[in-house]
């Protein structure tokens, strides 16, 4: 296979080196233009994200590793001293890496989905620069397909992996759809805003915001389309809400009090209390009955850990799917590599057959001509199949793929069929001429 990859990622390089190697879109376009006119190269594509910068190449002949590192430093602007952080992979290993990247198996956050979009963008960019060839097109498309396949057939991308998204997951486990749910947001700091953004994205549209500084509450209320309420929130606010998120920097609980406890005790709807503050904002005594669910930061960290563990288990199945796609791509490549030779072989054999049939036709009665035609075709098919099988075998072992050596290999075998041997001998002679 003629596929090469040089790149670095979060596993092999520090953030500082990754920053130096990162390529902006105009820089990628320039590099692709340069690569598409380079000697010994038939195709190129570049994938640059915050965690990796990888250059995929389809060369005529494999480059040596030093040449690839020099090329990588020139394209990315990475100092040669840092080039040791880059990995070089070839053929099946390069394809396997590409498919794993697409599947999110090589991502810092296992199973993340953004990488698939980034890979599609890299492919589109390379295509627009007419920098790809048949092999790279096939490799990239196969990787994208594999990425989708892995996400469809495994749970590698399921479950929240940050505290804010875990809060949404918990709310969805309790309420189902969050559209139409009422949320009381206590606090207007970064954590509160992050959680609110996630909930807003999940469909929550009805908000009350309580914050010590009313101006900050107003800013958040405007962003979410909600309204400001007093601080600390009252029993009526908690009674109104389906979900309370609190993330203030207060030294003592702010969602607390006898009136609040009464309101919670009286209500007949489920209430989810999410306490994202340390020290805690919500009085644990409020979880008075079975329909009140109270969670703290520690619980969400446990949930995130459980989700990551579940993803790791799914990764084992994902690896099997990756291997299947790599094997299919390899099979396609072998077929693709020998296809021109097989076509040439077919043409030579067909020419030979037609010539022999015409030469010998007069020795047969007209009613036997059709039979002669069928016989000659069957014989040629047999020879062609024999040589094609040898070519495919040679392709697996990366042997010489010329027609002459395929014929030599085929005749070297211990073949009992005298007719086939005869035709091969003729073919060898034709080949010499």
């Amino acid at each position: 296979m003629r596929l090469e990859l040089i790149g670095l990622n979060h596993r092999t390089a520090s953030l500082e080196i990754r920053e130096q190697a990162a390529m902006a879109p105009p820089q990628i376009d320039r590099a692709l233009r340069e690569l598409s006119g380079a000697d010994n190269l038939e195709g190129a594509a570049i994938l640059s994200t915050c965690n990796r910068t990888e250059v995929y190449l389809s060369p005529v002949e494999h480059h040596d590793e030093d040449a690839l590192r020099r090329l990588y430093c020139r394209l990315t602007g990475l100092p040669p001293a840092a080039a040791g952080a880059a990995y070089v992979l070839r053929d099946d290993d390069a394809m396997r890496h590409l498919v794993r990247v697409a599947a999110g198996l090589d991502s810092q956050l296992l199973g993340e989905v953004q990488i698939l979009g980034q890979l599609k963008e890299a492919y589109t960019r390379a295509l627009a620069a007419t920098a790809t060839n048949n092999i790279l097109n096939k490799a990239l498309l196969r990787a994208i397909e594999a990425g989708k396949d892995v996400r469809n057939r495994t749970g590698i991308s399921q479950g929240a992996v940050s505290v804010a998204s875990a809060a949404v997951q918990m709310a969805q486990r309790i309420f189902g759809s969050l559209a139409g749910r009422r949320v009381l947001l206590v606090g207007a700091g970064e954590t509160a805003r992050l959680a609110a953004n996630h909930l807003h994205g999940a469909g929550v549209a009805d908000w009350r915001i309580a914050n010590r500084t009313a101006a900050n509450a107003r800013v958040v209320a405007d962003l979410l389309g909600g309204r400001v309420t007093g601080f600390p929130p009252g029993a009526a606010d908690v009674d109104w809400a389906d979900l309370v998120i609190s993330a203030t920097g207060a030294p003592a609980p702010v969602v607390v009090g006898a009136a609040m406890l009464d309101a919670v005790r009286r209500r007949k709807r489920p209430l989810l209390l999410l306490d994202l503050a340390v020290p805690r904002d919500i009085d644990p005594a409020l979880a008075v009955h079975a329909d009140v669910y109270l969670y703290t930061v520690d619980d969400f960290e446990d949930l995130v850990a459980a989700n990551l563990e579940a993803r790791r288990k799914e990764a084992l199945r994902a690896e099997q799917i990756v291997e299947k796609h790599v094997a299919e791509f390899s099979a396609w490549y072998r077929e693709h590599r020998v296809a021109p030779t097989i076509e040439r072989l077919h043409a030579v054999l067909e020419d030979l057959r037609r010539h022999e049939v015409e030469r010998n036709q007069r020795r047969f009665s007209p009613q036997d001509h059709a039979q002669l035609e069928r016989f000659s075709q069957a014989l040629i098919r047999k020879v062609e199949g024999l040589i094609a099988a040898n070519l495919r075998q040679a392709s697996v072992q990366d042997d010489d793929l010329s027609l002459a050596s395929a014929i030599a290999r085929a005749t070297a075998r211990d073949m009992q069929d005298a007719g086939v041997q005869q035709v091969l001998e003729r073919l060898r002679q034709e080949g010499r001429h």
Partner: protein, 274 residues
């Protein structure tokens, strides 16, 4: 023809549902959207075949499949599966395909073991009024069994959330809100159907006064069931209990219903009514 209707097709249906149960059991353990789509389509196909079988049988014996316990079990299995196909439009599958499928396969095995051929038919099982009563009753029972399944799911998920166990049950069950909504819907609809079936039975007994002995005892059990169900619906509408308390109540109610129903069916076919 009889061989096909009473033996071959039901056996084929059992095999088909067994395969479906196997597929959903695999899907319970691992995510595979492709296989899930195949299983859903296969489920619809199975429902269609069941429907065709019921129609063919009804035409052949001029009565719905209610002429013996075996037929009743198969008919109930069909209604449970129709309900499941309908419910899958709202809830994610996996557990909520496996549990009903276990019920369907169990009922089908029971039906085949009991035998589906009606033999000599008791006179009071013939006629449109008994078909209406039995259909309403079985549809109500199927919905209430569904209610029991959703309530069980609710209880499991509630426990997982309370105990902070973020395992596969937590990940794969539908949300508490969805389970509660479906539990309430099936409870209310199932109760309405059971009450209607009791009403039709009372009308039927008054129209055929010679057969009280056969049906009165069965009617007592159905009346008791209807009364308990109505009480549970009232508690549910007024939200006197917590959502989890109501789920527990529904599961207990399901147990009571199955017991009363078993006693009732045995009485009709093997007891005084036989």
């Amino acid at each position: 023809m009889d061989q096909w209707l009473y033996l071959v097709l039901p056996q084929l249906l059992l095999v088909g549902f067994g395969v479906l149960l196997g597929i959903w059991a695999i899907l319970l353990r691992r995510t595979d959207l492709g296989l899930e789509a195949v299983a859903i389509r296969f489920g619809w196909l199975a429902a269609a075949v069941l429907g065709v079988w019921i129609v063919a049988l009804a035409v052949r014996q001029r009565q719905l499949p209610i002429l013996n316990p075996g037929q009743l079990a198969f008919f109930l299995a069909a209604l449970v599966w129709f309900g499941q196909c309908y419910a899958q439009r709202w809830v994610n599958q996996r557990l909520f395909a496996v549990l009903p499928l276990l019920g369907v396969v169990g009922l089908m095995v029971l039906g085949l073991v009991s035998g589906l051929h009606p033999g000599t038919v008791t006179r009071f099982l013939v006629g449109p009024e008994v078909a209406v009563h039995a259909s309403l009753s079985l549809a109500g029972v199927a919905l209430l069994l569904g209610c029991g399944v959703f309530a069980t799911g609710h209880m499991i998920l509630h426990q997982q959330i309370r105990r902070r166990r973020f395992d596969a049950w937590f990940q794969r069950l539908p949300s508490l809100g969805d389970l509660d909504r479906l539990r309430r819907l099936t409870l209310v609809t199932g109760t309405a159907l059971v009450v209607a079936s009791v009403a039709t039975a009372m009308i039927w007994t008054s129209l055929r006064p010679g057969e009280e002995a056969t049906v009165i005892s069965h009617l007592h059990q159905m009346l008791l069931l209807a009364a308990l169900l109505v009480a549970l619906v009232v508690v549910d509408r007024r939200r006197w209990w917590s959502a989890n308390g109501l789920a527990v109540g529904c599961v207990i109610m399901c147990g009571v219903m199955v017991t009363l129903l078993c006693v009732s069916v045995i009485e009709i076919f093997q007891g005084r009514g036989a």
